[in-house]
């Protein structure tokens, strides 16, 4: 999940709601889509901006761990597939910033908040990609976890967000298949390749489980977001679904999930599994993951180094506008 710990504005009981708020909630309960120009509670708007913004930031920061291997991809075909994937992620960022703009916040404002550390991106992108197998593990597990979260969000109450999710989900499932394909190749390869694949699973398993956010019992902001259908499932529901889907895939690869307590539970029809180390999660969120400084640093550097480029284009547009005005005057 690309939006973790999104702080929701306080929830209200029906008795405390204004007639407008009641009518709004009724529309959501009837599964009507809310469109940009329509009335919405300020809390709904703010929560959505945080969530969509965090998701957008995750897409663009998410270019970096995979971009790290484009120049080292082992075949031309793998290079092309990876390039296409990273390009898709940038495109996802673009759709999402556009969706956020419909709520009255500009892309530049959101980027400023990212760069100053006032907005977050998913914790997963603060882990390093150390071997080529990580390109497989990221596609399989990270895009896989993202899909788990984003498929239900196709039904989210805010129209532009829902439509962005529909476009994005199609591409994400392609990413996941490509990632799994890399893993299959590695697992069927040399002993070194297989070891790389196992090592990648070992390193990405728990960070992937963390993508769904803290356990429901510690997740303070869920109720209101779920009432607004900004969040469609609880963190634990999605995490369980992810584990249930992924464990058989790992078995098929002949890899071992790094959890000695992982066990099928017949009664609940799902796996029992170990929780990730939440202290690690909060450390990463607080900026102390292995790559936080590099990831945010790379984005800030790209933005600062690119200032002259953006200013140059603005200056040209201003000159061209001026010339057009002068020409019009001369013609009149």
């Amino acid at each position: 999940m690309y939006a973790q710990l999104v702080k929701s504005e306080g929830s209200k009981s029906r008795e405390d709601m204004t007639p407008e708020e009641i009518a709004f909630q009724d529309r959501i309960d009837r599964n009507e889509k809310i469109e940009p120009k329509e009335w919405m509670p300020e809390g709904y708007r703010k929560t959505l901006i945080r969530q969509i913004g965090q998701h957008a930031h995750s897409e663009i920061v998410g270019q970096l761990p995979e971009g790290n291997w484009i120049t080292r991809a082992p075949t031309l075909e793998r290079k092309a597939i990876l390039l296409a994937k990273v390009q898709d992620e940038a495109g996802h960022g673009l759709y999402l910033y556009c969706a956020a703009e419909t709520l009255g916040v500009s892309r530049d404002e959101l980027l400023e908040k990212l760069h100053s550390g006032n907005m977050k991106y998913s914790s997963i992108f603060n882990y390093p990609t150390l071997t080529w197998a990580d390109m497989g593990a990221v596609g399989w597990l990270v895009d896989g976890a993202a899909i788990m979260n984003q498929v239900p969000l196709q039904r989210t109450s805010y129209g532009p967000y829902s439509r962005a999710m529909i476009r994005i989900c199609k591409e994400e499932s392609f990413h996941q298949r490509q990632g799994y394909d890399i893993m299959m190749k590695m697992c069927a390869g040399t002993p070194e390749q297989k070891a790389m694949a196992q090592d990648a699973l070992n390193r990405f398993w728990y960070p992937a489980l963390m993508m769904f956010g803290p356990s429901d019992k510690d997740s303070v902001h869920s109720a209101q977001s779920m009432a607004w259908k900004i969040k469609m499932n609880t963190n634990d529901e999605l995490r369980q679904k992810f584990v249930d889907q992924t464990v058989p895939q790992a078995e098929y690869l002949g890899l071992t999930v790094p959890d000695p307590d992982l066990k099928w539970n017949e009664e609940k029809g799902g796996y029992d599994f170990s929780e990730p180390d939440w202290s690690e999660f909060f450390a990463v969120i607080a900026g102390n993951g292995p790559c936080n400084a590099e990831r945010l640093g790379a984005r800030v550097k790209a933005w600062e180094d690119g200032a002259w480029f953006r200013d140059g284009l603005m200056a040209h547009a201003a000159k061209a506008g001026e010339r057009a005005r002068t020409a019009r005057h001369a013609a009149e």
Partner: protein, 287 residues
């Protein structure tokens, strides 16, 4: 790289004649075996695309705007795709059981045939854009001419690549103009990029024995024949961009051997060290 033997293989000339006789694009049988010049030419095409694609891909996630990240990834993707086609054909014509990946990943720098221009480091975004523009303006003329190649496989690849490169040129020319005629700083950066890169443009138009053989066989144009059109494009764009090419500049790879002959800058070795790492570290592994 030793100087190349003259093209003495008779069947190429015969084939060219046959191709000229056919007004339409009838598939010419492969003039494959023993065509070192043809292989050499195809490697030049493939290596330019590969190395420039590599350089462009280095921007992934680091470009000055999200739209540029997308555009550059797309451009790199086009170039890698073209490289697969050119090197795939080179391997087929060579007939030694190699494939495009073997050519890309298992040759050392001295066996690469790309122009020096495309291996130069990215520099600031202005250098990257200017390098792209100067190459695109050449690439498009080359591909247009190759669409009429006597070898239908070459013509087919060129036709596909031309559409992509037309878009690359549209984009790079537009940005050179807007940034040249932009702010004081953007103009200064674009002028500095142009001055720096100009010395690497001459190599594009050098005719050597390989080019002569390709031209005689009707497979490819002489590079020098592309210069007038390139001059026109570049002059028009630079004029609108309010930029000026250096009047006199030493041209690398013209009087001295350059990338086309396998004599590269120091930069190529590092590109290959990075690009070929996995294939070299795990010989024979499949990915």
């Amino acid at each position: 790289m030793p100087s190349l033997p003259d093209m003495t293989t008779p069947n190429l000339t015969a084939l060219a004649g046959q191709a000229l006789a056919d007004s339409g694009h009838v598939a010419v049988p492969a003039p494959d075996a023993g065509q070192p010049e043809f292989v050499e030419f195809l490697q030049r095409m493939g290596d330019n695309a590969l190395i420039l694609g590599h350089r462009v891909s280095e921007w992934c996630g680091h470009a000055p705007a999200l739209e540029e990240d997308i555009a550059l990834a797309n451009q790199a993707l086009d170039l890698i795709g073209q490289c697969q086609l050119w090197l795939g054909l080179a391997a087929e014509v060579e007939g030694k059981g190699r494939d495009a990946d073997a050519l890309a990943y298992l040759r050392d720098a001295g066996a690469f045939r790309n122009l020096l221009l495309v291996e130069l480091p990215n520099g600031d975004f202005g250098v990257t854009l200017m390098r792209q523009f100067l190459f695109d303006a050449f690439h498009i003329e080359l591909l247009r001419a190759l669409k009429a190649s006597a070898d239908s496989r070459v013509a087919d690849i060129a036709a596909k690549a031309e559409k992509e490169v037309a878009y690359h040129l549209e984009r790079s020319a537009d940005l050179v103009i807007r940034l040249g005629d932009g702010s004081e700083e953007s103009r200064a950066r674009m002028q500095a990029a142009l001055t720096k890169l100009w010395s690497y443009t001459g190599e594009m138009f050098v005719d050597d024995a390989v080019d002569g053989a390709m031209s005689d066989a009707g497979i490819a144009p002489l590079p020098s024949s592309l210069k007038p059109a390139w001059d026109r494009t570049v002059a028009a764009v630079l004029d609108e961009a309010t930029l000026a090419a250096p009047a006199e500049a030493w041209q690398h790879g013209v009087k001295t051997p350059g990338g086309k002959k396998g004599v590269h800058t120091e930069h190529l070795g590092y590109i290959l060290a990075e690009m070929q790492f996995l294939q070299r570290a795990y010989p024979g592994a499949r990915w």
